[in-house]
């Protein structure tokens, strides 16, 4: 589809490429979570000499929260990461123990894959990918500080210093430290330093960033209790099974051998008025309500105490019991994230049907941590004020493995491309959810935890999970970012879809209509028509292909209109705003718009149009001045 054009004037790195000499690595990735892994692997695929430094080499690709990949809005991200050669989709396919396609009845654009993962196997699979990757050196150790070079007034990154004093030198560093910046954990009134149970907090790095003038905010997130499977009375609970014919995330996954692992059920149960009563009477002991947490929590993933207090009219909330693995005894209690004191957690959870005898393996807790206000980044995820520093994942104020992995891939790739003096990898909002996410982060500068939703994408009908490969793999192939067999597979699939749509336009139904016209009707299914026409026999076994073809046809009119919208706005998207543009010199610009534009420095007029507080009159004025400056670069703005 719309491949990114390399001659797009707005797509540039914010800083000139670094000198190649004197560095042991091209880039260093700090952190081994979902962002760090994709960053290191992506950079290595582009040929960069990469180091991945993490203080726990035994926890690479760890799922800190729920044992699941994908979901609404997130499944699309996984497909895009996969289309760019990332590891997340393949690892999820190989270690999934339940696969479901969500939202099947609400339309192809919002349909999204999700799986329950075997937490342990997922981590092993991802660790193996990192260890086995050419060009990635895995280093255990804690990063204490960034090494800086250049004059004191204009520093740039030169590597990292580890806890033992060892220095690793590189012109680029990708920080993917997740929730570990000045992290504090809360369980009731118990407060522990650290970003994850049993782990510590990253204080030195946070202080250094602050000293460098990087502005931060504070978020909180929570996690629910883990229970012992043997203590749960599953018999009376409603089981939730995976799809009968599960679909993998990755196009590289061999369909015949999928799924690899035994598939298991989750179980559904509900809170009840008794549960709510116990939570309410102890609410003063919840750190959020006692005023001990100042961080902003995600509205879309509320703690159970939040649900009870904010939706007081509801007498029950759904609870999913998710197994953490095939051999694991651990059950993740999805839906009751809590930071109430341990004994209160035990008390209220045991009022829930099936959990009367629940044995706790771990209590729920809340984590409070610093994040960097992402408006300080450019669309390559580089920090504007410090050449060579890239940030990805929860450090940018996002939540979720998929959001983190997507940013990791882009940050790693862009850091590598920067050191190689090649054009950056930036997607438009009409090209990828990844583009929507980065644009939202750097332009809107969100101050509450950012999670992907399909409604964030104005061109949602273009950004489907079924066409992620066709949207992105060609670009990845050009850059050398795609996996070895990916470009050919993508081309073959595109050709099949083209061949099928061509045939469908020619073939007629009994009534004389073309099959393509017939398929435009919502209730007509291609898979059901394939048998009537021998020419289509080759489609019969490929349900996924049938669906993709059908979606192409059913959505064609809508896709064309959204495409026209993109066209219409393209001029604005391409109108570059010079980095030294003097907003103060434009009279008539509203105060708020002036302040935000000067701070966020949008690279194009299109980006400026999405800055919160910038209104059409401001844009019109900006357009006039940009045009005037284009015609006469010397002209001073009219006062």
């Amino acid at each position: 589809m719309q491949a990114r054009s390399d001659d797009d004037p707005a797509r540039t790195h914010p800083h000139p490429a670094p000198a190649a000499e004197g560095f042991g690595f091209d880039l260093i990735v700090v952190g081994g979570g979902h962002a760090g892994v994709e960053a290191a692997l992506g950079a290595a695929r582009l040929g960069a000499r990469t180091a991945l430094v993490t203080w726990r080499t035994d926890l690479i690709g760890e799922m800190s929260c729920n044992p699941a990949i994908g979901g609404l809005g997130k499944g699309q991200l996984v497909k895009e990461i996969d289309a760019l050669g990332g590891v997340m989709g393949r690892a999820a396919d190989e270690t999934g123990i339940q696969f479901r396609m969500l939202n099947t009845r609400k339309g192809a654009a919002v349909r999204a894959p999700r799986c329950q993962s075997d937490r342990h196997r997922y981590r092993e699979r991802v660790t193996a990918a990192v260890v086995g990757a050419d060009g990635v050196e895995l280093r255990g150790g804690a990063v204490e500080a960034l090494l800086l070079a250049g004059e004191s007034g204009a520093p740039r990154v030169a590597g990292v210093r580890l806890a033992g004093g060892e220095e690793l030198r590189s012109p680029a560093v990708v920080l993917t430290t997740g929730t570990f910046l000045r992290a504090v954990m809360h369980t009731g009134d118990e407060v522990t330093e650290g970003g994850r149970v049993g782990e510590r907090s990253s204080v030195g790095l946070g202080e250094q960033l602050a000293a460098l003038g990087v502005a931060t905010g504070r978020h909180k997130t929570g996690t629910p209790p883990r229970l012992d499977a043997a203590s749960i009375d599953f018999e009376h609970l409603e089981p939730q099974l995976g799809d009968e014919r599960p679909r993998p995330f990755s196009w590289a996954t061999e369909r015949a051998a999928f799924p690899r692992l035994e598939q298991v059920a989750c179980h559904v149960t509900w809170t009840n008025p008794g549960t709510h009563e116990r939570i309410r009477s102890n609410i003063h002991r919840a750190p959020m309500y006692a005023g001990r947490i100042d961080g902003v929590g995600p509205r879309y993933c509320p703690s159970v105490e939040d649900k009870v207090m904010r939706f007081a009219d509801r007498d029950r909330h759904q609870v999913f019991l998710e197994p953490e693995g095939l051999e694991s005894d651990v059950v993740y209690v999805n839906g009751v994230s809590t930071s109430l004191p341990a004994e209160v957690q035990e008390d209220f959870l045991r009022t829930i049907e099936g959990l009367e005898r629940a044995a706790f393996l771990r209590h729920g807790y809340a984590v409070e941590y610093d994040f960097v206000l992402p408006g300080q980044l450019t669309d390559t995820l580089a920090v504007r004020s410090l050449p060579g520093l890239y940030l990805a994942g929860q450090i940018n104020g996002t939540s979720g493995y998929e959001e983190a992995a997507g940013q990791g891939l882009l940050a790693g790739a862009n850091a590598a491309l920067w050191t190689q003096d090649r054009a950056p990898l930036v997607f438009g909002r009409h090209e990828a959810y990844l583009g929507v996410m980065v644009d939202d982060l750097v332009v809107r500068n969100p101050t509450e935890p950012y999670r992907m939703f399909t409604s964030r994408a104005e061109y949602r009908l273009l950004l489907r999970q079924d066409n992620a490969d066709r949207r992105l793999t060609p670009t990845a192939a050009t850059l050398g970012l795609a996996g070895p067999d990916q470009p050919a597979a993508c081309e073959a699939r595109s050709a099949s879809i083209e061949r099928a749509t061509g045939l469908l336009a020619e073939l007629r139904t009994a009534g004389g209509r073309s099959l393509a016209d017939d398929l435009k009707r919502p209730e007509v299914r291609l898979a059901e028509r394939v048998g009537d026409h021998p020419e289509l026999a080759w489609l019969a076994d490929d349900e996924e292909l049938c669906e993709a073809v059908e979606t192409e046809i059913k959505y064609a009119g809508y896709v064309r209109r959204q495409g026209e919208d993109v066209e219409r706005l393209a001029r604005r998207e391409r109108t570059e705003i010079p980095a030294d543009f003097d907003y103060a010199a434009i009279s008539g610009l509203a105060g708020e718009a002036r302040e935000k534009l000067a701070r966020l420095r949008p690279v194009t007029l299109g980006v400026a149009s999405r800055v919160d507080g910038v209104r059409p009159p401001d844009l019109a004025l900006l357009a006039v001045h940009l045009e005037r400056r284009r015609r006469d670069p010397q002209a001073a703005p009219r006062r």
Partner: protein, 436 residues
């Protein structure tokens, strides 16, 4: 700049804003009395610094002052420039800007009312109400798309559909309202002007099919403003007759003063002033002065009238024609019925009838185009919603319905300039010849 011209009275200094000062300015040829109103930004119409000079209503004096100001570095405002600046500075939204333009161009009480409603934000508020209803619907729909059925955000289809139908009805109602509000007639208004007893009413009766103006040889016979239909090259226009205005003083508060005011109002709303002058007159300079007193906003055609009279000269004095006003003239005799076709052709030509219907003169077209744009926005929104409901009840999925809703919101946004393209702005602010 103003300071350079100011010669005595209170010296105009920045400070004490929004106060009136009186003094005199040197216009290069002499001094004339002036009032100065100083409004520093952002508390001004355009949010920029504004100085207003109020000068005597004498055209020659005004011309001198104008030339002097231009020489000092001022520049006449471009078409719609003040209002464009007010819009660009965020002082007014697009519909309010249009309201100002429409108000200036309003030709009758009905249009003036409609324009005032725009300026007051009537349409903006109405669109705002529709938008929030639509956005509420969209939010519900989006929540339904981004949450699984078991979750809190999910909304049952029937509820969504009910809400959608309510918004569709509100849009239909707004469309009906917009249609009622639209100017009922696009007919150009040709208004007779001239000294009392110049023969306006005789001409009125000759030109209109249903002409019923009272005619007498006595000056000031016509008191009320009356209207009739005149067909110009196949297009009907409204011909308006009212009391004439001469050099005699009229005592305020009398019937004569009332009649004069009504006639003035009618002339101010004219698309074309049909200036009637008695062909027997020879006082050229008085005729030129009379021309200068005609409403400046509308073009003017001269009817060199009563050609049938014994002492009539066949053409107006050269000084009258050389003054640039009227644009065209025709010698006529309403009694003999001569020259009436020439007059019709002149008026038709100046009005641009037969050629481009609207906008050609920078008059008349504005309100029509405005209400068309507003109507089109509302209609596009209503159509998008209807198409969405149609597709949805035909079995299309919710993601597609959501795309229609988005389109409907975009259409509403276009009305008050939330997402207005440059083209729309240019058309609005440049095409219409209105300063402020």
């Amino acid at each position: 700049m103003v300071r350079a011209l100011w010669v005595d009275g209170d010296a105009p200094r920045a400070g004490e804003p929004r106060a009136v000062r009186s003094g005199r300015i040197d216009d290069g040829r002499g001094r004339q009395p002036a009032l100065l109103l100083w409004m520093p930004g952002p508390r001004s119409y355009t949010r920029e610094d504004v100085a207003e000079l109020h000068l005597p209503g004498s055209p020659p004096l005004l011309r001198c002052a104008f030339e002097r100001l231009v020489a000092a570095g001022a520049r006449p405002a471009g078409p719609g420039e003040f209002t464009r600046r007010a819009f660009e500075s965020g002082r007014i939204d697009l519909t309010r800007a249009e309201g100002v333009l429409a108000l200036v161009g309003a030709r009758c009480a009905e249009e003036r009312r409609a324009a005032l409603a725009l300026v007051a934000g009537g349409l903006a508020e109405r669109v705002g109400g529709l938008r929030s209803a639509l956005e509420e619907l969209r939010a519900t729909c989006e929540a339904s798309l981004d949450f699984e059925e078991a979750e809190t955000g999910h909304v049952p289809r029937a509820d969504l559909e009910r809400a959608a139908r309510a918004v569709a009805e509100a849009l239909a109602e707004a469309l009906r309202w917009e249609r009622r509000r639209a100017p009922s007639s696009g007919e150009a208004r040709v208004v007779l002007a001239g000294a009392p007893n110049a023969g306006k009413s005789t001409l009125f009766n000759a030109l209109t099919e249903d002409g019923a103006a009272l005619v007498s040889g006595q000056a000031g016979t016509t008191r009320d403003v009356i209207e009739g239909s005149w067909t110009l090259g196949g297009t009907r226009v409204t011909l308006v007759d009212g009391a004439g205005e001469g050099s005699e003083e009229v005592t305020e508060g009398t019937v004569d003063a009332l009649a004069r005011d009504r006639a003035r109002g009618a002339r101010e709303a004219a698309d074309l002033v049909l200036w009637v002058v008695d062909a027997a007159r020879t006082d050229a300079s008085a005729i030129v002065a009379e021309a200068a007193g005609l409403p400046a906003a509308a073009p003017c055609v001269l009817a060199w009238s009563r050609l049938d009279e014994a002492c009539a000269t066949p053409r107006p004095p050269e000084e009258v024609l050389a003054a640039g006003r009227p644009a065209l003239w025709a010698a006529v005799s309403a009694v003999a019925g001569t020259g009436l076709d020439d007059l019709a052709a002149a008026c038709s030509g100046v009005l641009g009838l037969g050629a481009a219907q609207s906008g050609a003169l920078g008059l008349g077209g504005l309100p029509r185009e405005l209400s068309e744009r507003h109507g089109a926005g509302l209609r596009a929104a209503a159509d998008a919603l209807a198409a969405g409901l149609d597709a949805w009840s035909g079995g299309a999925t919710l993601d597609l319905f959501a795309a229609h809703l988005r389109e409907a919101t975009d259409a509403l946004d276009e009305i008050d300039g939330r997402t207005t393209s440059e083209a729309v702005l240019d058309r609005l602010f440049d095409r219409f010849c209105i300063g402020k």
